[in-house]
Symmetry: C4
Subunit: 230 residues, 4 copies
């Protein structure tokens, strides 16, 4: 029963990033995890979104073995699994090639925290990984994509930075649920767009003060959060 | 009765900025004031726009105390109140994180008056505030956001510059009515976009002449305005 | 009878530039001329496009005197009249504040002929006027906007360059009919966009060769044109 | 029978690039080839897309002689024919003036392989041709446009680089079918957009490693491709 709800939520997260213009053709995938059941629900590989329905999703165990579904899972599944294993608080992962976030990933630059829109979601810069090494690419590439992310997150709280730019590739985002992961992917694209334009206007633009960054992040996420309805 | 009309107008101002593409998710809020009644009508905090209806709006007094409504008001309410108190001619306030205007705010740069589209609405550059100080952020942050705007408007006629960029944050706009405030927010975004592109083409581009600026502003706003129908 | 057809065509030209995303609110206007009848049909000033219908258009004589219609004509009417008087081959004029073309106008730069898309419509750079002088602005401003265009077109064939950037303002385009003028306004926006991005990629990008420019312009416009159906 | 299917597929390829926003007015054309029958199906010249139906398409032989259809074929037909003759593996050609790809063509710059989105489709940079010479332009211009492409592809596998930028003009793309050619045209526009933004963020951004480029290209195209469903 819970799995049926997760199926629907993962399908909706996949469609949300399409609806928001983050996805061209089949570039992207969303997943969700049922930790108690030991299962992950993910988009099938290379399937068009127009006709995607909850029953098309693939269910695997934590090693990526297919438990249910007639289609192959997204080729990025091992990256999702690596994140789920390392970040126990997350319940959903979303990967897109959204335009501005991908441009920053291709530029190999972290996104500096230039404004409160950014600080509402990311506590400090959006990190970028190192480039992957030939041996990491040659074998277990998608799993190693997860590892290069985790190396970058050593000592970083993934709930205070719900996304990352994989250098030369594109962003991965996460959240407590698939819906939150999708929401964070949409917001990351917006943040990336704002920073792009701000730095074009003023290449010397600096990060907002720590005080302003903390204020905004905690207004939305801290124990004393007061944004939105309770 | 008048309050019901204001409710509808504030709801419509909120929806107008969404319709025009200035708002992602719940980033933004519009309000209106009934000065005689001592009341302000504002969007509830963090509520999706898709289902926003006039009855969801929150009504407060001039100190922000809720008079009517089951939802919490926008967390930016104190900024709106500060503007209403200081600018007696305004009847509506609109806050968005629209892309180009926010990029200028994040860049910490005022928008120079490079063309007649700008001069039709803003008499001279669109001002940017100073960065807020740690103590202004630590307590009464949203009220102090209003104060940093008002410091910037010392000696400036708010009806000749119906908006401002809060540094590292985003724009606030106003007008004689909520509809006019929303209209000004949409136009500010357009002005910010035009200036962004003009300065990329020619970083040395200068402001239009005072004569051309005055002509256009007064063609629309002066006592001898002749644009539009009477 | 002919006037009724012209009314419909001018209304459609106004709506076409809206449909193509060149117009925000009421920023822009299209007109058409019935030379034999001595009449001009133009959009009323400051009227929303959503509800614009042929019967709302204003008909004036060549001096701008209203012959038919209850609304005030566009305040830019004298600019249109100046163009009609000087360019006998044109039958329609369209003025917009479209984003890229206006950015070039604000930058005060002519648009170089960087590609065949440009050469298909404009034989050489899109010209930009001089800035207007204080006395030209102080009185007869809109008529003088026409004059500053005409000074720039001294010795230039208006049918080989169907548009201009008024410095610090925005483009005016024309064509043999209102529909063609609107088409040229849409294409000018596209050309302006392409040149903006090409020069950002390569600031040293130069104009295409005279041979390629002539080939494309004449493929569409010369006596031996062979593009499209006959 | 097969020809009827090809007609429908070519019509759909033409509409796909319109739907994806790559085409303004009539700027662009798609074709397909029936090699066994010795026939090519192509869009008619200058005909609006709104009303385009399979029966409007023009069928010619490999020399461009019309075999069926009442309309003139696209003026770019000889370029398509040159590509079909030289690249025996392709079944469709698509030409557009899409914004970012055309900007790169106007800039006269090849698009470096900055990320995996690019490497999924193009094995290495997207090439740009030399400028065409006056005599190539003066006579047989469209056929010579094909020749300047083919000179650039000497020693290059067209299936590993399914598109090209014609300097000062715009892209041509191809694929095993008209649908694949259209898909590649859409992806090229996206790649061009990503590279534009990445290089604006970081003008020193370099190509991804050969290992990463090969991995992604082969994940989708090599004999061991594992992306998508079988």
């Amino acid at each position: 029963m819970r799995l049926e709800a997760l199926r629907a939520e993962v399908c909706e997260a996949n469609l949300e990033v399409v609806r928001r213009g983050l996805v061209l053709y089949t570039f992207g995938n969303a997943s969700g995890i049922a930790r108690a059941e030991g299962l992950v629900v993910i988009k099938p590989s290379g399937v068009p979104y127009d006709t995607l329905r909850p029953e098309h999703l693939v269910i695997t165990d934590f090693e990526g073995k297919i438990v249910e579904g007639n289609l192959k899972p997204s080729s990025d599944l091992p990256t999702h699994l690596a994140l789920y294993k390392a970040f126990p608080a997350i319940g959903g992962v979303v990967h897109t090639h959204s335009r501005y976030a991908t441009a920053w990933a291709q530029a190999g630059r972290e996104i500096p925290c230039l404004g409160t829109t950014h600080a509402d979601y990311f506590h400090g810069p959006v990190p970028v990984t190192d480039a992957m090494q030939p041996d990491e690419i040659a074998s277990g590439y998608e799993w190693n994509t997860g590892q290069v992310i985790l190396r970058r997150f050593k000592g970083v709280d993934p709930m205070a930075k719900p996304g990352v730019l994989v250098a030369g590739h594109a962003p991965f985002c996460w959240g407590r649920t698939p819906a939150e992961a999708a929401h964070n992917a949409v917001v990351l694209e917006e943040i990336a767009c704002l920073a792009y334009h701000a730095l074009t206007i003023n290449p010397e633009a600096g990060a907002i003060s720590d005080a302003l960054r903390d204020k905004h992040f905690q207004r939305k996420h801290g124990p004393k959060a007061y944004y939105g309805q309770k």
